[in-house]
């Protein structure tokens, strides 16, 4: 038995800190900041494989997880990330908060601030809720999903997962298929993937197309075969039944027939395509079960990588921002 040998060559990222106090969205991140988060997440991922999955980096820091919308994956992922960095965590869910008694978001936040947390992780159904908090709070604000606006840590973990499989983002064809209108995951992913040089295609029913989507440098189609042809990555978006007030398509079965990801459609993509989904999945609506559980699926890798990426974001924002002085 020969001894293990380290072969990996280290590339140093161009920057060593995020130039901001908060992580509100991908839209305002520079490509070198995105690379820094992804590089840091690689180091964080190794911690999850140790016998003792904990480092003392955020000892004495308090992080509030303020969730105004139901979430299992994102909230637990943030909580595990915080605990692995030794931060003290506090979870506040809507049902147990004063909001049901009529308190405004700003008042809730200011009351929490008075207890001196260092960071607030916010999930809210209103787009822009994080921006409001970032303006009035001294704590670092991390957006864990705001309305139909952005979900930056999801896009970062998606990018991390793609890079892990493909070793790059630039030049890849990424097809994003599903409910384009209501998806904050889509917006964050479009910003991130176009900044990093990927060739992004979006596909969905015309009734679920945001206006001017091509303004963001993506190609749009309602023909799913065209979107997935020769794709390196297929990312499916959840049909958000809870956000649909009108009739956007005749039935879930019809949606599956026209847009659902089946093994037959998968064959149009590259032979080493990967299938992604931010969860929670509607099996038999946007994705067939055989595809979700099949050999091309990296859906559970995404969940695992979410912890590492959130550890990276928490660590990089915890030290205090290196504010840019130029206006």
């Amino acid at each position: 038995m020969s001894a293990p040998v380290i072969t990996r060559v280290e590339d140093m990222p161009a920057v060593t800190s995020l130039r901001r106090k908060d992580l509100l969205g991908i839209a305002d991140l520079a490509p070198d900041e995105i690379s820094l988060v992804l590089e840091t997440a690689e180091a964080m991922k190794e911690i999850g494989s140790r016998p003792i999955k904990k480092v003392p980096a955020l000892r004495g820091k308090t992080v509030v997880n303020l969730f105004f919308e139901p979430s299992t994956r994102t909230r637990t992922s943030f909580e595990i990330a915080e605990k692995r960095l030794s931060a003290d965590t506090l979870n506040i869910a809507i049902a147990s908060s004063s909001v049901v008694k009529g308190e405004t978001l700003a008042d809730t936040a200011l009351n929490l601030e008075a207890m001196q947390p260092d960071m607030i992780v916010l999930r809210h159904s209103s787009s822009g809720a994080c921006h409001l908090l970032a303006r009035i709070c001294r704590s670092a604000i991390i957006n864990a999903g705001d309305g139909m606006h952005e979900h930056p840590t999801q896009a970062l973990l998606d990018a991390f997962t793609i890079r892990e499989r493909k070793q790059r983002l630039a030049g890849l064809k990424v097809a994003i298929v599903g409910d384009l209108l209501h998806s904050r995951v889509l917006r964050s992913n479009i910003h991130l993937l176009t900044k990093m040089g990927a060739d992004v295609w979006v596909c969905g029913p015309p009734t679920l197309f945001p206006t001017d989507i091509t303004r963001f440098g993506v190609r749009a189609t309602s023909r799913v075969d065209e979107a997935v042809a020769d794709a390196d990555v297929i990312m499916l978006l959840r049909i958000q039944l809870e956000r649909m007030e009108g009739a956007f398509f005749p039935s879930l079965r019809e949606y599956f027939n026209v847009f659902g990801m089946t093994e037959a459609r998968l064959r149009l993509a590259k032979p080493d395509v990967i299938i992604m989904h931010p969860g929670p999945m509607n099996r038999g609506v946007e994705i067939a079960s055989e595809v979700a559980d099949g050999p091309f699926s990296v859906i559970l890798d995404q969940v695992a990588n979410g912890v590492a990426v959130r550890m990276a974001v928490l660590y990089l924002l915890a030290g205090g921002a290196e504010h840019e002085t130029a206006a």
Partner: protein, 180 residues
């Protein structure tokens, strides 16, 4: 900028330390090398090659990044965070004798962080410290087991270890002023 060790001196020193390791441990059974990033890792790999030449046996070698264990982390309200790099210890450290390798021993704070980090990987039978240069000025009760060169320095001087792998040359330089 006086050069205190040149390439030949560094090579001879590492060979001497490798022999000391074999003598003190009566061979290389149950030994593993762990280098502290960045230059400690390169020194650890060189020692592994020399130990292989001497004994014919491979000594497992790992890399340790101590950033997340630093005692000055988060102490500055404003400023960039230190870059975190990967720790790679692809073997169990339980019941092994760990040879911890760093380039310069100064305040001892890096070594303290490295010891805490190592203990999170398991329970080694023992840890021995190897440094290329001991420049004095300890702030913690830490002592090296193998020292390449004892170099008396003033606090305002700095010791720069340059290695082929990262700096395209092998030498140790004593600089007046500048960051330590």
């Amino acid at each position: 900028m006086p050069v205190v060790m040149d390439a030949d001196r560094i090579a001879r020193t590492l060979t001497r330390i490798a022999h000391e390791i074999v003598e003190r441990n009566k061979g290389v059974d149950d030994l593993a090398l762990v280098g502290v990033r960045t230059r400690g890792v390169h020194l650890a790999r060189r020692l592994a090659r020399t130990l292989k030449e001497i004994t014919g046996d491979d000594v497992p070698t790992g890399a340790l990044d101590i950033t997340l264990y630093r005692d000055d982390l988060m102490r500055h309200a404003v400023g960039p965070q230190p870059l975190v790099r990967r720790t790679e210890i692809p073997f169990s450290i339980d019941d092994r004798k760990i040879l911890l390798v760093d380039d310069v021993l100064y305040t001892g704070r890096t070594t303290r962080a490295a010891l805490d980090a190592l203990i999170d990987f398991g329970r080694p039978r023992g840890i021995q410290l190897i440094v290329l240069v001991d420049r004095g000025h300890r702030e913690l009760p830490i002592k090296a087991d193998y020292v390449g060169k004892n170099l008396p320095t003033a606090p305002d001087q700095s010791v720069q270890v340059c290695l082929q792998e990262t700096d395209n040359r092998d030498e140790v330089v004593l600089q007046q002023g500048g960051a330590a």
